[in-house]
């Protein structure tokens, strides 16, 4: 039963990622073949962010919650070993890795000022400032151009709120969590979307 649930989830996850990757390919590829004048990187980032958010919401609402309610399969941090569903945050990160591996250029990560794992901490000062900014003002994404060597990238950091109780409970109880006083609707971190400017 669990195996069936896991397989089903995987199909949902894969479809979602493919949709996102396909969208990104169309959006960015289209701009290369037939330049869309007047569409700024900010808009592209907003579009991508809305898709990311929507996909995660669909996954959380129509997969995770339903599976839990029906007692078919639970979520677990070690979902691969426990034959469970990935947590919504893991879903987002795994999807982000898939997008990155496809080589389209656009990438996104889930980062936090209070990450459970250090790899999810802000990588740059810009990301740190962005997280602080969106934590202070969740309605205003933090945007800017950053450099890596000679390469320039447009980054936008969107606030990531605790939309379900499960998110709050997990971060407040995880032994590696540095902050344990999250409440529902708090900004727990941010989604950073990076678009190369080439």
């Amino acid at each position: 039963m669990k195996a069936f649930g896991s397989g089903k989830v995987w199909r949902v996850t894969l479809c979602t990622c493919l949709i996102m990757a396909g969208w990104a390919t169309i959006a960015l590829g289209g701009s290369k073949d037939t330049p869309l004048k007047g569409i700024s990187p900010e808009k592209v980032a907003d579009y991508v962010h809305s898709i990311i958010e929507a996909d995660r919401t669909v996954y959380t609402t129509h997969v995770v919650n339903r599976m839990k309610e029906k007692g078919i399969v639970q979520t677990d941090e070690h979902w691969e070993q426990q034959n469970a569903l990935p947590l919504p945050a893991q879903f987002l990160q795994r999807a982000g890795r898939l997008v990155a591996e496809r080589g389209s250029g656009i990438r996104y990560r889930l980062i936090s000022l209070w990450p459970i794992y250090r790899r999810n901490a802000p990588a740059t000062e810009f990301e740190r400032e962005g997280l602080e900014a969106v934590t202070a003002n969740p309605d205003m994404p933090h945007r800017g151009v950053v450099r890596s060597g000679k390469k320039e990238y447009f980054q936008t950091i969107y606030p990531d709120r605790a939309v379900t109780k499960a998110c709050v409970d997990c971060h407040n109880t995880h032994p590696l969590s540095p902050k344990r006083d999250f409440a529902l609707d708090n900004v727990m971190g941010g989604i950073v979307i990076t678009i190369p400017l080439e």
Binding site: Q81, A100, E101, G103, A123, T124, S148, G149, K151, Y153
Partner: protein
Amino acid sequence: MPSAQMMTTKGKEGLRRKLIVSMLLVGAVPLAVGLAMAFFQGTKEIREVSGTSFEALATETARKIDLILSDELSKISQITTDVNIIQALEVRRDQFADYGDEALQALIAQETKEWTDEDPQLVQRLMKNDLVTTLQRYDSGTYVDQGHPIPVITRSATRGLFITDVAGRLIATLNSNVPYAHSHEPWWQGAFKKGVGQLYIANVAFNEQLKIYTFTLSLPIMDSLRYQVVGVLHRIYDAKEFFSSHIDTIRFGETGHVMLIDGNGMVLSCPVLPTGTRLSDPQIIPLVTLMQNGWTPAPSDGHGGVRSSIIGFAPLPTTSRITQNSTGMGWHMFVWQSSDELFAPIEHLFTWVAAFGLLSITLLAGLGYLAASRIVTPIRRLQEAAKLIGHGTWQEPIIIKTGDEIEELADEVNRMNTQLAATFAGLESEVETKSQEVQYLQESTAQILDSVPDPVIMLDQEKQVVYLNRASKEAFHLTDTGQLKGKSLFSILETDSMTQQKIGKEFQSIGASSTGETPEMTKALNGKAGGLRDPLQQVTGQAAASDRQEIRVNGQIYRYQWFGVRARPGQNQEVGLVFRDVTEESRLQDRLIKEEKLASIGVLSAGIGHELNNPLVGVIGLGEAIQDEENPSQIKEYAHSIVQHGRRMASIIRDFTGQATSQVKAQSSEVNLNEQLQHALNGVKETYDAVSMDIQTDYQDLPAVMGNPQELSQAFVNILTNAVQALGDQGILKVSTTVREHKIQVTIEDNGQGVPQHLLPKIFDPFFTTKQQGEGAGLGLTIARRIIQKYEGQIQVMSKEGAGTTCQITFPLSNHHPSGKNGGTS
């Protein structure tokens, strides 16, 4: 008596043996069952306890190794976040943007060759640059937190530390014995992961350059934005040295130890097996490489032993997740101890318990023997006493003081003995009285028998004399009667051997009879057989004596009679013989028989004369007729009749001599019974001039019969003659033929005087007749039956005195051939 003693001894030994065996069974069976249960339960519990302990040890060791590896990864990852390294790698990445693919491949090929050739400039560039310095600082612990120095073991186990750029080229290394280009290596591709980056732990493998088994950690180095991989950090470890200090030190008992294996059963570290070898038994690999903790009984130990063993196992939780993402298999701890050592305590315990068990059984046997002896000895005394009482021997009171039921039993036996003594005292006088009565009866019986004038002899089953009365002694001239008892019957009865044989058979038949009464006895009791006797019966003197139950002793003839005597209880039956002197009576009877024989010969002669006289008269009459007859044809007819009468006379003579059968049978032909019957009837009518007799014939169609017509006619003549003679001048004679129930049936019926019922069985006997002398020889029906039976027919005579006689003759159909119709009614 010896057999009785033997039985008694056996009984005593049996009781003692049973008691000892019972005690042994009561003690030994529960002991054996308990021992077996303790052994199996102990084995099971040891297995479970050991398995659980092994699982716990495997789990703890796995966590420990996992933490060590995680810590190692954590420390190495600090290198991957070093800003200088990242910036240097970003520069390298940006430089590649200026190269085309072909130019880049050419550059890599050229530098690979230079590195292989140990080009000083390239070696200098790769081993003496700022990045190398940074690596050396990290490797030496300069950049590591004071509280978390890099362990000495980790440093000493490191066999290589180098960095590659985004093209997989070597850009900094602490060791020269590493290849230059790595983009084709699985570890590099796994860590680079299409620019996304992923931690990669490679399996233990034999490093050809280092000549050791190594494992590697490969970490992607992300750019400053953590956007993409700009290089890969690679660290090579001597697997044995890295793990052995943590694993080889964990030993318990003499053989118990911990080992680290990968998912293929390859040994990463083991105090017994060398690194790089595989478990000896592939069957146990899937049992112990599960992704959860546990223990299992395994068919072997994986170390070359074939004995089943208990193995605890646990995966390295974090490391296995990484290795599974990297190579598809986990790393697992494996805890094992030799079965010999593992089960040694329970086997030791079993040995001790078995030894104690044997000791207990021995004690039980000894104590059982003592207890059985204490029980059996008084019982034996009681048994001896009971035996003596049974034999009527006076027994002194038995003194048994066991204080239990046996003592009570002894008291009861004493009481019984006393009561028996009192009872026997009364019985003895009664027995004496009865004995006197028996003696009186014996004497009176002897006197009675002695007073009987006929000899009486009593015989036992062996035909030996047990009693003789006085008449026997006088009759058989016996004097020393004391010595005669026990002798054979024929030693006192001097008879011929044939008589002895006859008497012996009678004695055996009496012995076989339960009542002792035999047909011979009955016959003797009934006396001489009554009724009519055949006057011409061949009777010898000895045969006559045999039929009369007579023997000849000392010139005297005795008629004897057997009688049985009821046997005494427990003794064999006796048989008695009573003799009666019939010497005079027998002589008179023999004389009478002789006279009867003479008379019979006369009758026979008359009968033969009569049989021959009839045709002879006809011959004479026909002869006279011929003398007066002138008609030649008539003369010829008379001559023909004379020939027929002559043949009949010859046939009668042949019948008397009994020599005709075979000759006549050879002359068989198809015979019409109706014709022969009518022919015979005509002859009888002619002979007896039965003019006034009412003769009714009813002939049905008959199939032919195979036979001699003259014989069959003779048979019908004889039967019809009897009928006509029975009727006299008046009466009705009915002759009919028919086929009924697959048989030809001939019926000759008269309403004459009939035959008395008691004579019916004799009417077919030769020369038996009820007619007056000269009327018949008593051979008519004898001859008729012989002829009929000769042709497989049957004759049956039914008669009622004063009402008439019916004679039915039947022939089977199967022996006949069909013939034309020939019949009628007159």
